[in-house]
Amino acid sequence: MVDQKGASRGKGKPKQASDRPFFVALGILGGVYVVLIIAMLLADVAYLAIDRRVKTADIDFQWDDSGRLVQHGDRISNQYDRLGLMITSHSPDQSPTIFEYLPGDPETEPPRLPAPVLGIGQVDNDSPDRILPSAAAGDQLVFQWTDPVELTMVDLAHLPAAPGMTLTMLNTEGKTLQVRQIDESGNQASLTVQIGDTPSAGIANVSKLVVELPRGGFVARLKYLWIGRQLAPWEKDHPVLSRIVYNPLTESLRKPEIRYSIKLSLVTCTITAILSLWVAIPIGYLLSRYRFPGRNLIDAIVDIPIVLPPLVVGLSLLILFQFIPRSLHDLVVYEIPAVILAQFMVAAAFAVRTMRATFDQIDSRRENVALTLGCSRFQAFTQVVLPEARRGILTAGTLAWARALGEFGPLLIFAGATRMKTEVLSTTIFLEMNVGDTAAAVAVSLIMVTGAMIVLVIARVWGTRASV
């Protein structure tokens, strides 16, 4: 009996096990996100605090022999402040003067052209902005298109007093579609010729425009519409099929920039979703299960990215990276990592909320039972809690993915909108709208909708299968 007891004491007393490593690991995983949020906000404050110093700029002025300002850089010490620009000179003889750079003499120079124009002649060697009119009268300017266009407008400039011009429009077979005689004279220096009945409609199928110009006339502008590609012979016979194969959507999918942005969007959103879960699961679990000092504070902090205007998130990240070593800064800012980081900052907050709610719904007694059955905290977490949280994890991942896909403001500021580099789908829409290509923007929107739907359906199907 005594021996048995001794044996049981000596060997039987288990060492006190600790769950501390598990909690520390969770804390570190989740803490990264919390620290990032705090750092981002502190950086803004720090930036403004530091930026109140006096700025210095160096401005260097150079003159040519005739006293014209040809270059100014930033070499001479000067002081800028918010009150304006003050310039002092080193030389006691010459007081500082600012010249406007003008090629040629303003007295003899004819009025400069408001916009680049096209004419027949040669460039004036004395003043490169001028084009000399040709010597012969009745010269022709010929415009030719490989694919027929719909010509809507021709702007003429620098018309002489008696114009007498002819515009001839021809189709692909060389047949004349329309001839316009322009005799409207007067003192007008420029004339807008509307080809069709309304400003937006013109004459279709024009493949050649011949402009007969009198001496001194220029063409300032041409306006025309075209479908952007050459029709294949079969398309003329099957217009519906042609429309199915060639529409803004397929057109967009053919563009390398848009293909790149689709690829980048898919990759960055997926990485963002994984990273978001990576921090959301530990934070959600800790917030849901454990009371620790500062818990309420952290609970509030992880909500900040949700309430913060997205643009502010982007700007704050940009400012935060001002305080980071240059090499790391250059690796991230305006590069792909910036895309992921900007998406992550917002998406993770939503994932954290979802995971928190998920863990709140899972009865903590199940973990307790697992603990009594011999699990460490880590085992209880991986073997009981995580399987039960599977649906919540899927939801959080999907939500983070979708959030990341729609992220735009922070990306524009923090990652830029460089084509083939940091352009994701939302940026594409912005860029296409900027150049006025609404159809392409809508097409990209449709691609995004489709992508989001596919992810939603996959997550749903997967989630249902997992729970059965």
Partner: protein
């Protein structure tokens, strides 16, 4: 033996002070008390799930006060079972053994044995969705017994059952105790259960604990547990002489 000395517990606003009692090895003890008197809290403290402010808890000779739940070797059945929703019934019975990295053949044998004992063999492949109240309790009981703990804590295991199932479960618990020789602490608020099952009754009234003899006879001193396994004994209770020898010592894997 469950030996609690001067135990003080604090959970939020709720406080229990200077709890002391001793449940002899192999006894079926029913813990009685009104709602809100801290029955579940005491149970959780013994299982290691509620922190202890002061005092000691000993299981046999082993002071477990500072130990993690997994080191205490206690079978615990919480109220309504708290089954794992992602696992099948067989998974539940095998869970504790898998955590201990037991040989899979041994696990299969043990699952079969438990299923027979608890009469849930037809349910083994089912998930826990759609199990009846009685079935859930059997699964939870099987899960708690699977690693042959010398001590079993039951938190109102019969509260949500209809009369017929209630009777069956009482028979089952009695049967389990006789076959395994496990020390059971059973929380209940029904006198009927205490009369039916208890060998000793622990009553909480106004924060004080009183142990009285129950109606059911205590097994004889020399009676051996019917479910012995290989292994080293962890405790021999000399105070009343009944033995918990040959209860396997299964350390949880980490």
């Amino acid at each position: 033996m469950i030996h609690v000395t001067d135990l003080t517990l604090q959970v939020g606003e709720f406080r229990l002070e200077n709890v002391s009692f001793e449940i002899p090895t192999g006894h079926y003890c029913v813990l009685m008390g009104k709602t809100g008197t801290g029955k579940t809290t005491v149970l959780e403290a013994i299982a290691g799930l509620t922190p202890v402010s002061s005092g000691t808890i000993r299981l046999g000779e082993l002071d477990v006060t500072e130990l993690q739940p997994r080191q205490r070797n206690i079978g615990y059945v919480p109220q309504d079972g708290a089954l794992f929703t992602t696992m099948s019934v067989a998974d539940h019975l095998a869970f504790a053994l898998r955590i201990r990295r037991t040989d899979s053949a041994d696990i299969a044998a043990r699952v079969k044995e438990l299923a027979t004992l608890l009469e849930i063999t037809p349910l083994l492949e089912r998930t826990v969705h759609g199990l009846s109240g009685g079935e859930r309790q059997r699964v939870a009981l099987g899960r708690a017994l699977s690693f042959r703990p010398p001590t079993l804590l039951l938190d109102e295991p019969l509260s949500a059952l209809d009369d017929e199932t209630h009777g069956q479960m009482c028979d089952l618990l009695e049967n389990v105790q006789q076959q395994t020789g496990v020390t059971i602490l059973h929380v209940s608020h029904r006198e009927q259960e205490a009369q039916r099952l208890a060998q000793s009754i622990l009553r909480i009234e106004n924060g004080s604990f009183q142990l009285t003899r129950g109606d059911r006879p205590v097994p004889k001193r020399d009676e051996q547990p019917a479910d012995p396994g290989p292994g080293e004994s962890i405790s021999v209770d000399e105070s009343n002489g009944s033995s918990t020898a040959d209860i396997p010592r299964t350390e949880p894997g980490n």
